[in-house]
């Protein structure tokens, strides 16, 4: 390999901190060099663009919903269209955006680099997983444009068997099936990479916590997603062949469908949140310039969440008809699962304590995450308690709960991660002031959108309704105003990022002072990540990382 033939200069040598002439972005040129690339970094970037586009699409639908709900009746969508719009919003956000967002985009880009390897274990599988994602996207767009899916993202039977939108259900379930495989392949690849490709010195407990989180996520992806696969396959057989397994008319059992569905979809919420927690662990320690507090506890709690997460799916079905004992057991298990989440929150706070906090864009997003995720997690508890859930189930309280964890948690952490690693990925610094402004707008807009929904829910406003009682109108309007502010904040964030590509400063190797391996290679990284095997140290030892004014970033003084 040509790189090795050259005199080997340690990548840690300072001074050579200028923008590299050759890096993975200009390594080869042309559309095909991207479309057929096996480089995990390019695949990660393609995913990043893809999931952001899906997010924009899903966000469009969200705003349509909110604007429709401005008046308590006679909104601008008719009832049928309203059903389609909230279905597509949910399905796109869950399956196309949030599940692949962090693992497939940021994980793909950074997992091998943070681990110190050249690539993931199966680069071809990685590329095929991206194309499966694209196929899923196309199928979803078909379901959207040809007929219009109206089942809700959960595809509950028997409605999904009976609805007139048969073609849409088929296209969407097939889309979910394909997306499931995309997700399985990513997870499988990551597990194998972490297990077999760690370079010498990279022991399990020297792995950055983002990798622990991704590892736990991958376990869930591999263990839960196949069940979703067979569920949607049976659902399409239901439509095509009338097999009746989930159809009460044929002696089938719709509650079985719900069990199968939530057996995947509850663990799936941890597919969404665990990588976000991983990002926050990185952000907290790097931007507080202080070793992470409770490394092992955070690492173990990721695995604990992954395992416990498989035992609580029944809390989505407390009102669907289950044996009393079962509901009590599911409720009790639901409470245990919140313990590892709380452990993480306390450890992050412990990391900040007496740290040197740099208030910059990634850190603001990280702080927003902690605040919002805590609210989201705490409101999960009344939902997990049987007596209160009887009232809250299928109300806006649930809607607010999961938006706090999914949007306030995962999306905000995703944005924090994108800002944090943007200089590394693109080699450009963004405007930090404007970035912070975007974080503040997002935070305000978000709370304005979803706090009123908790109140709405406790007062009995059911979810998925196109019209509502007049008494709820003020709170709904507050929420709609909030959503517009939120949308504006997100656009600001996008503009800040794009603007950096046009006239951003060239990024130093280590702009924030991180100690993990990705900060040891150039920004953007070379094609093979490391020109020589990197020296692996403690990922959270900041004692040797010092600011160097000459390069405008941090360097390692050994």
């Amino acid at each position: 390999m040509s790189v090795v033939d050259r005199p080997i200069v340690s990548t840690e040598t300072a001074g050579a901190d200028s923008y590299p002439e050759h890096h993975f972005l200009n390594h080869t040129k042309g559309v095909l060099s991207w479309a057929l690339t096996l480089d995990h970094k390019r695949i990660g970037l393609m995913y990043l663009v893809g999931v952001m586009a899906s997010f924009a699409l899903g966000g469009m639908f969200a705003l349509m919903i909110r604007i429709h709900l401005w008046n308590f009746q006679d909104g601008w969508l008719d009832n049928k269209t309203y059903n389609q719009v909230f279905t597509l919003h949910g399905a796109i956000m869950v399956f196309l955006f949030i599940i692949p967002s962090i693992p497939a985009a940021l994980g793909n880009f950074f997992l091998p680099i943070m681990l110190g390897t050249k690539d993931v274990a199966f680069p071809r599988l990685n590329l095929s997983s991206f194309y499966l994602w694209v196929t899923g996207l196309i199928l979803f767009l078909t379901a959207l444009s040809v007929t219009g899916l109206d089942t809700g993202w959960t595809f509950y039977t028997p409605y999904s068997i009976e609805t007139q939108k048969g073609g849409a259900v088929l296209a969407a379930t097939f889309g979910v099936f394909v997306l499931g495989f995309s997700s399985i392949f990513t997870g499988l690849n990551f597990i194998v990479t972490i297990n077999t490709m760690r370079p010498p010195g990279m022991t399990w407990f020297r792995m950055p916590l983002f990798l622990w989180a991704t590892y736990a996520t991958s376990i869930i992806q591999v263990l839960a997603t196949p069940v979703l696969g067979i569920t949607v396959l049976l659902l399409s057989a239901e439509r095509l062949l009338g097999i009746g397994i989930f159809d009460p008319k044929l002696n089938g059992d719709p509650v079985t469908f719900q069990h199968f569905f939530w057996f995947y979809s509850h663990p799936a919420v941890y597919i969404m949140i665990l990588p976000a927690m991983g990002i926050i662990s990185e952000l907290m320690s790097v931007h507080c310039h202080k070793g992470i507090f409770g490394y092992r506890m955070i690492a173990y709690s990721s695995i604990a969440i992954a395992l416990f997460g498989f035992l609580v799916w029944g809390h989505h079905m407390f009102t669907s008809g289950m044996a009393d004992v079962t509901t009590v057991v599911f409720s009790a298990l639901t409470f245990t699962v919140s313990i590892p989440s709380a452990i993480k929150v306390f450890n992050w706070l412990g990391t900040m304590y007496q740290g040197t906090v740099s208030l910059n864009t990634p850190m603001l997003y990280a702080l927003a995450f902690i605040f919002l995720f805590t609210i989201g997690g705490l409101t999960g508890l009344p939902l997990g308690a049987l007596s209160t859930d009887m009232h809250f189930h299928d109300t806006y309280f649930v809607v607010a709960h999961f938006h706090y964890v999914m949007m306030g948690g995962t999306l905000v952490a995703f944005l924090g991660g994108v800002f944090h690693w943007w200089p590394k990925m693109t080699g450009r610094m963004f405007n930090d002031k404007l970035g912070m402004v975007s974080a503040i707008i997002v935070f305000i807009g978000f709370n304005l959108t979803f706090l009123p929904q908790f109140v709405l829910g406790t007062r009995g406003m059911p979810r998925r309704y196109a019209t509502y009682l007049e008494e709820f109108q003020d709170l709904h309007r507050l929420s709609t105003v909030g959503s517009l502010i939120l949308g504006f904040g997100l656009v600001t964030a996008l503009v800040v990022l794009l603007q950096s590509l046009v006239n951003g400063k060239k990024a130093p190797r280590n702009p924030w002072g991180g100690a993990t391996l990705e900060w040891m290679c150039s920004s953007p990284p070379p094609h093979d990540n490391f020109s020589s095997a990197p020296t692996v140290g403690d990922p959270y030892d900041f004692s040797k990382i010092e600011y160097d004014g000459r390069v405008g970033g941090y360097v390692r003084k050994d």
């Binding site: 050579a16 002439e21 097999i243 020109s531």
Partner: protein, 364 residues
């Protein structure tokens, strides 16, 4: 930094990126053969885990409905021909043996033996599908269809031939003819490589039809001997159908021929069970011979065996790929991961069938 990175722009093709000590079979991002092998193996095991979970959804559905309506499973299982199931079980077990042998051959550089063993595995797979094609087409003719398409079995007909089997045979026929042409071509150009690929393919194609022939012979025997078994069936039907019955001819055409010695006992006891159930429930709803009962069994039957058959097809595709590689003598003691991993996959497919066979065919 520039000093390190200013390499002549190398291409994205993994092969151009090799270290000097990187042989062509070692992907550039792996350090050594062991790491590559371990990665592949772990990847395959994880994939098998997902496969098991994938099937587990259907096994759950099976357990739920069998638990709820045991009499339906007994009634319907009588329509499945244990003999064909048993033959297929044997065929798959044998193919697992040849597959395992193939792994050994690949490690020992026994290239011709390797091709032979892979060919035997592939041929067994084809034979399995041949038998399955007979089973499926026969059921379709009888109206033993999933869910809402199920036709209540009133007896009195063998099921008119409707050309389903012929339809199922079209694609295998085309493939066999193509393999035959390829085989001729391989002799014309007299290339060992092409012969080693074409031969197995041709044998595989033919074995599909061996399976079809075997299946049909046994089905026919089962149908012929039905007179003798009719008494027992009458019991089942008598308690099960509430519609009128013409039992003059056998309705369970798939019943094994010479099962006459062992099976009547089984069927009779099944009949008694049903009788008890009937007396207890004594409502028309409890009748098992209808879409929402037997139909649901056949839904589960087709889903499970169908998804399994798709896995067989997938396995055949990768084994064919292995044959091509083996004919190129690519495998050796340092590089046999693909054979090993496909072998693991193949054993799993076999393993699942070993569960499906008793669960579906051998219900008493």
């Amino acid at each position: 930094m520039t000093a390190i990175q200013d390499t002549a722009p190398h291409t994205d093709h993994a092969h151009d990126d090799h270290h000097h000590d990187h042989p062509s079979w070692l992907a550039h991002h792996f350090d050594d053969a062991e790491q590559q092998y371990d990665s592949g193996k772990l990847g395959m095991w994880l994939f098998l885990v997902t496969e098991v979970l994938f099937f587990s959804g259907m096994f759950c559905a099976y357990a739920l409905y069998r638990n709820r309506n045991p009499e339906v499973f007994e009634f319907c299982s009588a329509f499945l021909n244990e003999k064909l199931g048993a033959i297929n079980t044997g065929v798959l077990l044998f193919s697992s043996l040849t597959m395992a042998w193939a792994v050994r051959a690949s490690q020992l550089r026994q290239h011709t033996l390797l091709v032979g063993m892979l060919a035997a595995t592939l041929a067994c797979a084809a034979m399995f599908l041949g038998v399955k094609a007979v089973e499926y087409s026969h059921k379709w003719e009888l109206g033993l269809l999933p869910g809402k398409f199920y036709v209540a079995q009133l007896g009195g007909h063998h099921g008119d031939p409707k050309g389903y089997l012929e339809t199922l045979c079209v694609v295998p026929m085309i493939l066999t003819v193509l393999s035959a042409l390829y085989y001729v071509y391989s002799w014309v150009v007299n290339s060992t490589f092409h012969k080693q690929v074409a031969g197995p393919l041709l044998v595989t194609g033919l074995c599909f039809f061996v399976g079809v022939f075997l299946g049909q012979t046994l089905e026919a025997e089962a149908a012929d001997s039905h007179g003798g078994e009719h008494a027992e069936h009458h019991m089942v039907q008598g308690h099960v159908d509430h519609a009128s019955h013409d039992h003059a001819a056998a309705e369970h055409t798939e019943h094994p021929a010479d099962g006459a010695a062992a099976m009547p006992v089984v069927v009779a006891s099944a009949g008694e069970d049903v009788k008890v159930m009937k007396e207890q429930l004594a409502t028309p709803d409890a009748d098992v011979n209808q879409k929402s009962m037997a139909g649901l069994f056949f839904s589960i039957y087709y889903c499970m065996t169908g998804v399994h058959a798709i896995h067989i097809l997938g396995g055949m595709a990768v084994i064919t790929w292995l044959i091509v590689k083996a004919a190129r003598h690519e495998f050796h003691e340092q590089y046999f991961g693909p054979v090993d991993n496909v072998g693991l996959y193949w054993h799993l497919v076999d393993f699942i069938w070993i569960y499906l066979f008793p669960l579906l065919y051998l219900i008493t």
